[in-house]
Symmetry: none
Subunit: 194 residues, 4 copies
DNA sequence: GATGAATGAGACTTCATTCAT
DNA sequence: CATGAATGAAGTCTCATTCAT
């Protein structure tokens, strides 16, 4: 599976789409990057959109799996949130291209596959659950969990977007670490001076 | 200007792009929506991308103007932030299509016009300034202003994105008001229970 | 007539077509060069091709008039030929743009107006007549007058084409004078050494 | 190569361009003539102009090759010139369409590809060399070789142009043979009666 | 007559997809 | 399964021409 032909094409597609956008990524370019003939792509994918769908599906599974494991751990909700942040930021460091694709093409993807796997919904839903339980257990102050989930989701996207923007080529790990700390601080204390 | 031919085309383009995405918005569809011949579009715009650039430019000017006025007011930084939130959320209520275009096509736009007017940078820069001053005046606790600006920016985008997602057709004004309150509460107190 | 609106447009068209070719010469460009609105062109010309036809017609009349006068003069055929050469080379010096248009667009013109005024036929016919008479009067050696006319015609075109090619901007009058002499010498003595 | 797809398209383009001119020759017409889909053209040519460029390039190579061989032969300059004439006239008999394209579209071609292969320059350069040597060896009378080369070039073009004009459909081989003889006679004796 | 905004047919080109080898 | 030449629908853009002012 790891080194399979399908995987090879998926990786190539991620690279090309990250560089050129989904519409700029022609099947010719993807095939060239994968060192494969154009026709071969169609042995593994129904059409071009299907490649994108597969990229989203794999990512979705990955996150779902992570959330499922995190859910079972018995730790403070803030630590769960920290875990999510860490997971996402590790992802962007490890494969910025993949994250770029997910961030930039999700709109197109959702327009096309209205009922496809929704990474955002998955993340927001899990955040909401964490917050809900935290409030129920008295560990978080009363709030509107859905709204706070949306807000936390916004954090993550913004930080990843910003990272992709500033770290063109060279890494900037400090940025991501600082981001985690700043967010946790914000959740812990707010922004207003005591 | 308001009812001019160029404005007519801009409005039509916003509608079509919001529905179909920039690539799905063919010049034929835009012309039809504007009740104009295809050729007429090219009397006012260099090419299709130029329409998008114009949409962004108009929006950029609008926001810049708002920020400039808000900057001069002598109010608590949290109120300035509240002002920005209110402004953005009023915008999404008033013309959801426009906001959808800005949110969904900014990646494409920046890939294409690397040095075009950047609404995001503009917003982030202003937020950073507000926070920086707030910290300097002792009204906000010490923090990394750039990072917090990014985070606040994430709020706004996420809320607007969510609103566009759930309010398909019918409004949901309560959502946006609740969002403002929740964010202000978060900034004021954090999330952890006292 | 000289400064009339129609003449103004004809001159502008010559300039633009010489620079950009007939197909590159848009009606907009011609109108701009003539400092006139596009619509005005259509008050004087049926369509774009008609402008070209008019340019050829004027040129045709000019040459026909010259030939008619030259025909009546009682001079040696070689001097008549010299007169034709001089007339053509004066033309190219005086208005290279016009000559460029005649040379470059005649193919298109004849394809379009199969039975329009044919400057080439006019010139060749006259040359043929001059040679025919010259032979009849014993002033020229026996030959195939049609063929020699074609050949002389080729001289003129080639010299003008070459002149237009080498005299970009700056004049090169010596070239044209040298050409006349060389051609007359060729007709007088041939090329082979005695 | 001979029956290759690219060659097939080149031949079709020659046919269509000869009939309709380069601008009248739409890609659709060329594709239809080549019995190929439009898209196929673009698998072998960058764009429409590139087809013309290829036609000129092939022709250029053909002529260059011929000149190179002729150059080495040790014969009287007049015979070399006769060889060139014969070669060109054979070409026009064999493929009038090709010659029509070369003659009619060279202006457009040179406007577009300012530094493309120049059949005319090639021919004129070679003629100049032949004449120069002939004069040096005392076989031709003293003259301005460049000018005479231009003039000879004019012969060739004019004769070919005339042939294409009169031989619409039916051949007229006598014309071309007569032309060669007439030109050689002209070069040998001039035009004036002794 | 002059104007120039509007028109829309038609040209070029791209590229996802197919299918014979 | 792999290949990649062929396909042609569809999109962008141009520009000669018209016509209301």
């Amino acid at each position: 599976m790891k080194g399979s032909r399908k995987e090879q094409i998926r990786q190539a597609a991620i690279t090309v789409i990250a560089q050129e956008g989904f519409h700029g990524a022609t099947t010719d370019k993807i095939a060239a990057q994968a060192r494969v003939a154009v026709g071969t792509i169609y042995n593994y994918f129904k059409n071009k959109e299907d490649i994108l769908a597969h990229i989203f599906a794999v990512e979705y599974e990955k996150r779902l799996h992570f959330f499922t494991r995190l859910e079972e751990e018995d730790i403070h909700p803030l630590d769960k949130i920290k875990g999510i942040l860490t997971m996402h930021f590790a992802g962007v460091r490890e494969n910025p291209n993949l994250v770029r694709v997910i961030l930039e093409e999700k709109n197109f993807f959702h327009r096309y596959y209205e009922r496809g796997p929704d990474c955002d919904q998955c993340l927001q839903g899990f955040l909401e659950q964490v917050i809900n339980r935290g409030v129920g257990e008295g560990k978080l102050r009363p709030c509107d969990p859905e709204m706070v989930a949306v807000v936390l989701f916004g954090f993550i996207e913004a930080i990843m977007g910003r990272y992709l923007c500033i770290s063109n080529g060279g890494d900037d790990n400090d940025f991501l670490e600082a981001a985690v700390n700043e967010i946790i601080a914000l959740l812990a204390e707010g922004l207003v001076s005591a």
